[in-house]
Amino acid sequence: MSRGTLIDLLYLVSATTFILALKGLGSPKRARMGNIIAAVGMLIAVVATFFKQVDGHNLNHVPLILIAMAIGIVVAVPTARYVRMTAMPQLVAIFNGVGGGAAALVSITEFVHIHSTRPATYVTLEVLLGVLIGTVSFSGSAIAFAKLQELMTGRPVTYPGQQILNAIFGLAGLVIIIIILVTGQTLLLWILLILAFILGIAFVLPIGGADVPVLISLLNSFTGLAVAASGFTLGSNLLIVAGTLVGASGILLTRLMSKAMGRSLSNVLFSAFGSVITAAAGGADQRPVRSGSPEDAAVLLSFASRVAIIPGYGLAVAQAQHVLRELAEELEAKGIEVFYAIHPVAGRMPGHMNVLLAEANVPYEQLLELDEANSEIQTADVALVVGANDTVNPAAKDDKTSPIYGMPIINADMAENVLFFKRSMRPGFAGIENELLYNPKTTLVFGDAKDTLTKIVAAVKAS
């Protein structure tokens, strides 16, 4: 067997591991194994590439390749390892963005390499698509990162004529691609690059913070497609398979994620939350609410027989998951039944709460998914809302004008009493007023979730 064939065979092995890995990632039991399998496949592919011959000679610039990899590893490993759990979504966004950037760079470099040989039209098209999609993914991810990291406002950024302007950007991109294909005017590639960069930013700006995870999933899929496009240019089956896998599964995943929020994908991408919010946020400010001390909350909890805990992003921010578990254990010691009602999109990513509570060693059986939680919550004496807001907002059920109308929620208002931990009266991530705060069943406990919970644990212990 020649060296080339052997390398292609190793690439085939690697492509197969990616398929197995994606399959594994879909089941809780095999997910971690799946990820490791993919990493091994990746290692095989990279090592094999060092021995590959291009243009009839061995790989040039091997020391440079190694230096680049070393830089990448030195930056990526500590970042990925030690960034706080709450910042995970941003990390995924940024790692996706650099992938898109790399795909665009590969396409550009290959184009610079071959354009003197007057490549066929379809080769140019592959390059242009790679550049366009990769760059959109790169700049879009950068804005998504900025939104999640709160470097800029998480609210949708809107301006007059936004949709039309975006459509013009998109059309202009297509026109430039056609002109390049017809005239072979390669200088226009740089204009396409700039345009794609702006397009990525303009596309992401109007999307509200709560929807950003769905968006990241979509951009992830884009990067896959950009990688597949570079695979065509380079003539690499491995890149085509891996890129297309991610592209196709990513689009489906994006749809699943928006479905979990009870909205259609086009609604997430183009509805720009903002236009409705101004109408909804107006009137409701000055109404009375009932607030209580942590000690009041402790009394209420101690006399309950079933308690439903509804966690949200605020729990992650306050890093209060361990104290929360402690409280649950104290209550159970008193013979009170405790369960956790997990909304599929609680936190900033689906599964965020499961990860967080698992970290605090909360037993898996106590975590109930939406439907089950809602049927159980009707018999609960107390619903304890810790750091959640939009996912318990009854407006999703009965206010047709609300931007979250139609999203499935956890029916905290069905419990006998509601304890709502809040830092302030500020609305939640989606920027929508929450009617549940004014419900006569509701007692608000103001303060940092961790502080409040610590005080409650002490009070429950003492009683």
Partner: protein
């Protein structure tokens, strides 16, 4: 338009169906790790980056290829490590306890 292109197009078509089929049934708690895992997989662009840097003849090509290699390595390494860290949290504690019991019993 040669046979090679047709072969790539075939691979593309088939892979689209595999990609859709393979994640048709994923519980919502795994959406995030799945997204993060596939994010790492498209880091395979590292192979492409190595090839373009490895065949670079001019300085601009070398610079672009070098940058591509750095970005792609960030994507691969960061992607896998983040995903692993997420999935670490899914260790099924009660299950391992049950498995241990089984071992004792057998």
């Amino acid at each position: 338009m040669g046979n090679a292109l047709l072969q790539y197009a075939t691979v593309l078509m088939l892979t689209i169906f595999v990609g859709i089929e393979i994640i048709a049934k994923v519980p919502s708690i795994l959406h995030t790790p799945l997204m993060s895992g596939s994010n790492a997989i498209h880091g395979v662009i590292l192979v492409g980056s190595m090839l373009v840097l490895g065949s670079a003849n001019t300085t601009p090509e070398t610079i672009l290829g070098f940058l591509a290699c750095i970005l792609a390595t960030l994507n691969v390494v960061g992607g896998f490590v983040v995903t692993d860290r997420m999935l670490e949290m899914f260790k099924a504690k009660p299950k391992t306890a049950a498995a241990k019991k089984d071992e004792v019993a057998s």
